[in-house]
């Protein structure tokens, strides 16, 4: 299928999304997705696709997951009316508080669901990657809870800038392996986690943390993260008495955004906005704005948009936020961009920091640097259009960012932005 979609194809693909027919059996979201994996992993991926579908449809799995989400994760997470931000921005602002979920971010929804799945599949060990460390912490906690040992790969650059999370993972019993190869951030950590799994495809379970990778991961992660949007949609109707005019989420790989957006896809009047990391600016290598500036390519097992050079080499990226610092993006986001259902834009490091500070001062909430990008995008929207009602995905809390934030507190911003 061509990447340039006709109006009829766009309508048909949205219809297929709304009726749960995407991804198709090949793992395709229209022209994107698929399963580009080494042969060693193909039997394991095929088995995962079948078993995950069976388990997610199995009432006993859903019951077990729901008990854990309620009693251990603390769901449903709150929907908070941001009174002071609403006054300042001239629009009603609601925050979906994934920062209040156990371990401090939305990542736990997926980590817990997949850890339960891994146990049901009889896995002997769990392998994971992490960028900001939130997925690593969530995986370490979930594996401790379900009783499977886990190993987490983390880029050496991220080990340094997210030091508190490294200690937390180790405290929770995970083995943390710093990755020095490649760009030493999330991309290199995923490469290394795949290498580990290629060496142990039968006993190991790869617990991928974002809506990326070969089929079935983009689908599986979305299904486990949809709880965010389901809850938020119900809470908006009961607390605000209506659906929002617009919904904002930050996008790195795109798991919190797909989870928040998905239940709103059929609400044609609700505008959906994904905010990527604009980093230091628009030059190649200066940002992580894959959907805004990327081109079609294959990385980490799926065909999606990608930041790459003219030779198909994947480009290094920059963002102040480790969780958004990734050259690829989930294939379903590429499709949502292609059919025009979600608008993607970017916010720079400076805009995100500014929004983070405003949220701290006005609401008494320290958001993660990732989530601050969603706040920055929402603020820009509000500046152009008053008296609306908006929903912002506050995907995680900012405690893990304190090493970066403390450095900035004491220095000139332009110098210190990593």
């Amino acid at each position: 299928m061509d990447f340039e979609l006709t109006a009829e194809q766009r309508r048909s693909l949205l219809e297929q999304l709304l009726t749960d027919r995407l991804p198709d059996v090949q793992g395709r979201f229209g022209p994107y997705g698929g399963c580009y994996a080494p042969e060693t992993l193909m039997p394991a991926l095929k088995r995962l696709a079948v078993v995950a579908r069976e388990q997610l449809d199995d009432p006993s799995f859903q019951a077990e997951l729901n008990v854990e989400l309620t009693q251990w994760v603390g769901r449903p997470t709150a929907l908070t009316y941001a009174r002071a931000l609403s006054l300042r921005w001239g629009t009603s602002v609601w925050l979906k508080r994934e920062d209040l979920a156990h371990t401090g971010a939305h990542k736990i929804n997926n980590a817990l669901g997949q850890a339960l799945l891994a146990r049901r599949m009889g896995a002997k060990r769990v392998i994971a990657e992490t960028g900001a460390g939130q997925h690593g912490v969530a995986t370490a906690a979930a594996c401790a809870r379900v009783g499977i040992p886990c190993r987490v790969y983390m880029g050496a650059v991220d080990v340094e800038r997210q030091a508190p999370n490294v200690d937390r993972m180790q405290q929770l019993g995970a083995e943390v392996i710093p990755v020095e190869s490649g760009d030493a951030t999330l991309r290199a950590a995923i490469d290394e986690a795949f290498r580990d799994w290629v060496g142990d495809p039968e006993q190991g379970y790869y617990l991928l943390g974002s809506a990326v990778g070969p089929h079935p991961y983009p689908w599986l992660v979305r299904e486990l993260q949809k709880v965010i949007g389901r809850e938020a949609r119900g809470q908006m109707l009961s607390l605000a008495g209506r659906l929002p005019d617009a919904v904002f989420a930050c996008v790195g790989g795109g798991s919190n955004a797909i989870g928040l957006f998905h239940p709103f896809l059929g609400d044609a009047e609700v505008e959906l906005v994904g905010v990527e990391a604009g980093g230091r600016g628009s030059g190649l290598g200066q940002n992580s704005a894959t959907l805004v500036t990327g081109t079609p390519g294959i990385l980490h097992g799926s065909l999606s948009l990608l930041l790459q050079d003219e030779h198909g080499q994947v480009q290094e990226t920059h963002s102040i936020s480790a969780g958004l610092d990734y050259s690829g993006v989930g294939p379903e986001h590429a499709l949502l961009k292609g059919i025009g259902r979600v608008r993607y834009e970017s916010a720079t490091d400076v805009e995100a920091l500014d929004a983070l500070r405003e949220c701290c001062a006005a609401e008494g909430i320290l958001p993660a640097l990732e989530s601050a990008h969603a706040l920055a995008g929402a603020r820009r929207w509000a500046a152009e259009r008053r008296d609306g009602v908006i929903l912002i995905g506050l995907s995680g809390r900012g405690d893990k960012d304190m090493p970066t934030l403390s450095r900035l507190l004491h220095a000139d911003e332009d110098e210190v932005v990593t």
Partner: protein, 261 residues
């Protein structure tokens, strides 16, 4: 110029070794490593000692490779090596009348995808490439790629691994061109823990269903291992051990010849 399709030349070179009563030797080099200026000279040396040469296209995210080839790949990219550069170099020496042993290009999918399959097929055929090995393009995703290559007489060498079950093995072998690449072990390239104990049974299983020669690769490091593998396969692929020899500054031709000892 021979009208024989490129992938058949690869097959023929491997069968010719078998007719001489020895396993074919398939040395692997990362293109442009250790030095882009010495690429053609190195290829000539390795080609003189091997039956088929695997040329690696460096990629930023070599997820099926171990540390040795990761390092070589990164160094080559930093030295400016790209797929376009590789094909231009090969076309230039071919135009000057130079011939190598049949060449197989080993590349992750994205550089090939970015180049464009149609242009790739034309340019690779003109460069004397006979087939491609693409570790992240499994059978299910490769139909368009294989069809585009076939128009120029090129083929895709399919990989099988110890995790591939019987039904899948048959389908993969049937779709392969040139030869069937039997990955000896689960894991990435460059392992040094020795060959697995059940290797013989595995290779016999692949050979029994493959209409093409079967060449084994991953973790084959010396003449003894080439000999062992040769008892149950038609050829042996030696990659990381050769790249390590290049890292040490050893003579490439002498190293490849030592694998026949």
């Amino acid at each position: 110029m021979s009208a024989q399709p490129g992938h058949e030349q690869v097959t023929a070179a491997i069968r010719a070794a078998g007719e001489q009563g020895r396993p074919a030797l398939l040395p692997f080099v990362t293109a442009g490593y250790p030095d882009p200026a010495g690429f053609i000279e190195l290829l000539s040396a390795v080609s003189a000692a091997g039956d088929v040469v695997e040329v690696g296209v460096p990629f930023s995210d070599p997820m099926a490779d171990g540390v040795t080839i990761q390092r070589a790949s990164r160094a080559a990219i930093e030295a400016g090596v790209s797929l376009r550069w590789i094909l231009e170099q090969l076309q230039a020496v071919r135009a000057a009348g130079h011939r190598f042993a049949p060449l197989v290009l080993m590349s992750y999918l994205n550089p090939l995808y970015s180049y464009g399959y149609r242009r790739l097929a034309t340019d690779a055929a003109a460069a004397g490439v006979g087939a491609f090995i693409v570790p992240d393009l499994p059978l299910e995703e490769g139909a368009e790629f294989r069809a585009t290559l076939a128009a120029e007489g090129l083929g895709q060498v399919q990989l099988v691994t110890p995790t591939t079950d019987a039904r899948r093995l048959e389908a993969i072998c049937a779709a392969s061109s040139g030869f069937v690449y039997a990955v000896t072990t689960t894991g990435v390239t460059g392992g040094s823990s020795g060959l697995p104990a059940d290797l013989a049974a595995y290779l016999d299983r692949v050979r029994a269903v493959s209409p093409l020669p079967v060449c084994a690769g991953f973790g084959i490091r010396d003449a003894e291992q080439v000999r062992l593998v040769g008892e149950h396969a038609d050829g042996a692929i030696v990659g990381s051990a050769l790249v390590e020899a290049l890292e040490r500054g050893d003579d490439a031709k002498a190293f490849v010849e030592s694998l026949r000892a």
